[in-house]
């Protein structure tokens, strides 16, 4: 069975799961002057990809592989010390769950939605959705790894009026790193929950709380 089209549906930025309202930490980095141009955007994306991107991709791959989503949700909490980011992950998880159940209805998604009515962490929901859609751990990891960098790149186009061609070029240059992270995530997922990476980024955690406390902002996170 070919699943390439299902992967495109799930990975499409227009899949109605609410991700467009979030900058993946890019807005506070722009506000602080840490993202100024395509080069600092590329650095930001690479750092995010190798830290929280790898961690989230591995959680998604593990859910796609069939590991217990509730145990993965708990593992995601332990990997997310910022309450603002835990809230965002659950909100996005809830939104993705609605879209996923409408698109690929089935008992596995229903069970997780019932166990976590306020939303499970988004990568766990994404991984389980991939599984239900007939996709594998690598596919789920690729989706999440790509989201990790495409969200900030798209947001910076608006925040800095960056040329969209330049932002897309940043993403294209990250392609080999994205492939490696997705492979690494899927390999860890196959070894079980204790082998999942927990790579973290201090500045993303600090800036997320500062951003959540700000009264005026363009993106929710």
């Amino acid at each position: 069975m070919t699943t390439r089209a299902a992967l495109l549906v799930l990975a499409d930025g227009r899949f109605p799961a609410g991700g467009h309202a979030h900058s993946g930490g890019a807005e506070p980095a722009v506000t602080a002057g840490r993202i100024r141009d395509p080069r600092s955007l590329a650095d930001f994306c690479l750092g995010r990809l190798h830290t929280t991107g790898l961690t989230a991709a591995a959680l998604a791959a593990a859910a796609a592989h069939g590991l217990d989503p509730l145990a993965l949700d708990e593992a995601a909490d332990a990997r997310t010390p910022s309450p603002a980011l835990r809230a965002v992950a659950r909100k996005l998880g809830r939104q993705l769950m609605r879209a996923a159940r409408a698109t690929w209805p089935g008992p596995e998604l229903d069970a997780l939605a019932t166990a976590r009515p306020r939303g499970a962490h988004q990568p766990v929901v994404l991984g389980l959705t991939a599984r239900v859609a007939g996709l594998g751990p690598e596919d789920a990891a690729h989706c999440v790894a790509y989201e990790t960098v495409s969200g900030p790149a798209t947001a910076v186009v608006r925040l800095l009026s960056l040329d969209p061609f330049e932002a897309t070029a940043v993403l294209a240059r990250l392609a080999p790193a994205l492939d490696r992270v997705a492979e690494q995530a899927a390999a860890a997922a196959r070894e079980g929950i204790d082998a999942l990476p927990a790579a973290s980024a201090p500045l993303l955690d600090i800036a997320a709380e500062a951003h959540a406390a700000r009264p005026v902002r363009l993106f929710a996170s």
């Binding site: 993202i35 650095d43 690479l46 190798h50 830290t51 910022s82 201090p202 500045l203």
Partner: protein, 255 residues
């Protein structure tokens, strides 16, 4: 010549309000000494680096247990400096800390900074097992490079489980062998001193702390369990310690 050494500390409550240390074993470069505790009922141990360590290729570990009801405080006499090994084949050093805290026990784990010297390569792993009702104060500080020097390669992982469930799992990697982007706008933003302060206390079960910014580059956050984590970045070790000390003064210090 690389070294393999494990130091061990076990603290037990004597049932009359004091804490005894039936196990206090030094090994190789890791010397552990009982020192005078400023607090009654609490045993204090100071880790004295008897020689320069860890060097590339060394395998060091410390195992500390505070059994049910015991009160143990561990600090160090000086910063730990990761240095390159002798010759290019020395490889990475490893430093493993295993801590366990029993029911109603208190462990304060407050070592000095870990300094990653230029050319060094160290993998540090800290694993903490907490029983329900255990209390913990744990500080970790990483300084990237000695004064005016580029950093070595440093990776650390801190895993904390409470009553068998994951409470905190954090992994970082900095320096020449780390994956790209570690010094950029998402991870360190050019900072050279990174600190974490974890406080686990049953008080937070019913009254979780509110998240709070501590200046521009530090934050106090409630975890998904009865604990708070302070994450701080600073330009140097002195500024970092200032932030963590101030944060600790407003938190339950194991009491």
């Amino acid at each position: 010549m690389s070294v393999s050494a494990t130091a061990r500390i076990t603290a037990v409550a004597d049932g009359r309000g004091s804490t005894l240390l039936p196990v206090l074993e030094s090994d190789g470069p890791l010397a552990v000494r009982r020192t005078r505790s400023p607090e009654a009922g609490c045993a204090r141990v100071t880790v004295v680096g008897a020689m320069s360590a860890p060097l590339g290729g060394d395998r060091l570990s410390i195992e500390a247990r505070a059994e049910a009801g015991a009160r143990l405080s561990v600090d160090s006499a000086a910063a730990t400096v990761a240095l390159p090994g002798a010759g290019p084949e020395a490889g990475a050093a490893s430093y493993t800390i295993r801590l366990s805290v029993g029911e109603g026990a208190v462990l304060r784990w407050l070592p000095d900074q870990l300094v990653s010297a230029y050319g060094s390569e160290l993998d540090m792993v800290t694993q903490v097992e907490l029983a329900a009702g255990a209390r913990l104060v744990l500080r970790e500080e990483q300084i990237l490079g000695r004064h005016g020097e580029q950093t070595g390669s440093l990776s650390t992982r801190l895993t904390v489980r409470l009553a068998g469930r994951p409470l905190l799992d954090q992994q970082v990697a900095y320096g020449p062998t780390a994956p790209g982007g570690w010094d950029g706008a998402a991870v360190l933003g050019g900072h050279r001193a990174i600190g974490q302060l974890l406080v686990v206390h049953p008080l937070f079960e019913d009254a979780p702390a509110a998240p709070r910014l501590l200046g521009t580059d530090a934050v106090l956050t409630p975890l998904a369990g009865p604990a708070v984590l302070v994450t701080a970045l600073a330009a140097d070790a002195r500024l970092l310690r200032g932030i963590l000390d101030e944060a600790l003064s407003g938190l339950p210090n194991g009491a």
